[in-house]
């Protein structure tokens, strides 16, 4: 009997385009009927050798702009982690005001990233009305980002030893207006995402990751916190203005009283974090210290200091998806970086994907996989095989999406 069961499993390749996001990752799903027995993850389709590129730039300042292009969404977190690593290696302390501006920029990024994810997640289960709603309300924060930094995406505000743009007193009312808009919207978003019957049915007990697995497989960010791991760099090893503010890791039990570690819990964590981000920006505005925004405004002096610096440093930033870690080594007499290493949150969260998907159904793959908010440009596709028929079939994203939507309609 056992042999027959084994013959009945089947591997379907899903990819080379990501089943949830339009990004290249390949998963090999071994399935038995509709149930997923095993999952294997293949990455590397978009490996750009960005670290190698960065070590071959003329100087660390030029590498900041490359770090910004590691990821289109986390374009504050990566350069911020990078400059923090350089600052630790070279012994540069940024002025306090710059730390507050960095915090504001990082939190604005978290709000926009979580809203973007909320839209994508709704789209994955075929709930396109919410997708449109989430992305429409996201525009407000994008406008604010543009207002403060001059750009919607790659902002170029972070500099070694501070920031390049100040946030002035005259800009505060405009920032508060956007924050008030989201505060007024929070109850509506909560109702739409947490009380809706369809969303509940599609996300509860889907893609469960237990606390122990989260710890063993090194999960980070909302993926870990939704499993009840109170891990948040902003709380544990605070950098920038988080060291002055009161930040607490958000876990789903704060709202529901229990931790399940499923996709629904990940929605809760992200919603709570949007609320938290608003509070953090408000605190920053209230207690922003005066002073300069750069430790060394003269670029040639800064470059000379960096060329003469010797040391190694690690920069850790809590990005919307989890912790971003950059390691930098500087050697005296060398203008370029001696070593640069990036660890993006998806790199470790991908390790959790097989555990999360096992025992689930094919139609749940898009939403469960999307729930870690994977970002392939940061970390770097899916295959499903049917042993019963002995054939290999490629299931593309549109087909996966169609099954997922069909499942919602059936419910």
């Amino acid at each position: 009997m056992l042999e027959e069961t084994e013959k009945a499993t089947y591997t379907i390749p899903v990819g080379p385009i990501h089943p949830a996001l339009k990004e290249p990752v390949r998963l090999a799903l071994t399935i038995d009927g509709e149930e997923i027995v095993d999952v294997d993850v293949f990455v590397g389709q978009v490996h750009r050798g960005i670290e190698w590129l960065g070590m071959n730039r003329n100087n660390p300042v030029q590498t900041i702009y490359l770090a910004e292009r590691v990821c289109g969404i986390c374009n504050i977190c990566h350069p911020l982690a990078f400059v923090m690593a350089v600052e630790h290696a070279a012994g540069i302390t940024p002025p306090p005001r710059a730390e507050y501006i960095r915090t504001i920029a990082a939190e604005m990024e978290r709000i926009h990233s979580h809203l973007l994810w909320a839209g994508v997640a709704a789209h994955e289960i075929g709930f396109d009305t919410i997708f449109y709603l989430a992305w429409r309300v996201r525009e407000e924060i994008m406008d604010l980002i543009e207002y403060l930094t001059g750009n919607r995406v790659t902002k170029g505000v972070v500099q070694i030893g501070g920031v390049r743009r100040d946030v002035t007193e005259e800009q505060f009312p405009r920032i508060r207006k956007s924050l008030d808009y989201y505060k007024g919207l929070f109850d509506q978003l909560r109702k739409v995402f947490l009380d809706d019957r369809t969303i509940r049915m599609r996300t509860k007990h889907v893609g469960v990751l237990s606390k122990e697995d989260a710890l063993k497989l090194l999960a980070v960010g909302p993926t870990a916190r939704a499993s009840g791991v109170t891990k948040d760099i902003r709380q544990d090893q605070p950098y920038a203005a988080y060291a002055d503010l009161d930040v607490q890791a958000m876990t789903p039990d704060m709202l529901t009283g229990t931790v399940v570690g499923d996709t629904y819990d990940r929605i809760i964590v992200r919603l709570l974090e949007v609320k938290q981000s608003i509070a953090i920006i408000e605190q920053c505005l209230e207690s922003m210290p005066p002073g300069p925004i750069l430790a060394q405004p003269k670029m040639p002096v800064l470059l000379k200091t960096l060329a003469n610096a010797e040391g190694e440093g690690i920069g850790r930033v809590e990005a919307p998806r989890g912790e971003v870690v950059h390691y930098v080594r500087l050697e005296a007499g060398r203008e370029t970086l001696a070593n640069w290493r990036i660890r993006a949150p998806t790199y470790v969260n991908l390790m959790c994907v097989p555990t999360m998907l096992k025992g689930g159904q094919i139609a749940d793959v898009p939403i469960a996989f999307a729930s870690i908010d994977p970002c392939q440009s940061c970390a770097n596709r899916m295959v499903v095989t049917d042993r019963a028929l002995g054939t290999r079939s490629i299931m593309d994203y549109e087909e996966m999406h169609r099954i997922s939507v069909q499942r919602t309609e059936e419910l």
Partner: protein, 180 residues
């Protein structure tokens, strides 16, 4: 479990590893207005004591977080730095811990730590393909990022003859190739 102070952590390593601990350094800096400390510990251990050091990290923290393994080609040797974090989940308590081990190029082998930290698998697969260090006992030794048709024996992060050959590198028009 009682939390050790940063110097206490270093002392515990000295006690556990004795002469195998080549150096230990605590980096500390102040952050923002309230001047709270940001701390990183850097350790360098003999390769024979590497497993012991990782086991000691696991004693300090039940599930230590391994962020990444960074590597450098030092010419005669390859340096690996395992970046752990311990004491997470508590306000201001977390410590970054860089554990460095040097491997001579004549014997590029390092034991796996996936039995202690299962999540370290991706990082170990990456160092195998990128810098050519053999991870002994690794449960899954396939490539991670490099494509299947990438030539054997070429390691992108090496700067010696096993590094990427000149014909694999493309210099953008109008630019000159730099020495890395």
């Amino acid at each position: 479990m009682e939390l050790l102070s940063p110097t206490g952590v270093i002392d515990s390593f000295k006690a556990a590893l004795s002469d195998s601990l080549l150096y230990a350094r605590l980096y500390e800096c102040e952050v923002a207005v309230k001047k709270n400390a940001f701390r990183t510990i850097w350790l360098h251990v003999e390769r024979d004591a590497f497993r012991e050091a990782v086991e000691h990290v696991c004693e300090l923290q039940e599930y230590p977080h391994l962020a990444i393994i960074s590597c450098s080609d030092l010419g005669q040797a390859v340096e690996l730095t395992y970046h752990f974090t311990i004491y997470y989940g508590r306000r201001f308590a977390e410590l970054s811990l860089g554990l460095r081990v040097d491997l001579p190029k004549t014997d590029l082998k390092v034991p796996t730590i996936t039995d202690l930290i299962p999540g370290a698998l991706f990082a170990e697969r990456e160092i195998q393909e990128m810098i050519g260090v053999e991870v002994t006992g690794i449960p899954d030794s396939r490539r991670l990022f490099l494509p299947d048709d990438f030539p054997e024996g070429v390691y992108p992060w090496r700067t010696d003859e096993t590094g990427p050959p000149a014909d694999m590198l493309r210099v953008l028009p109008g630019r000159q190739q730099k020495q890395c």
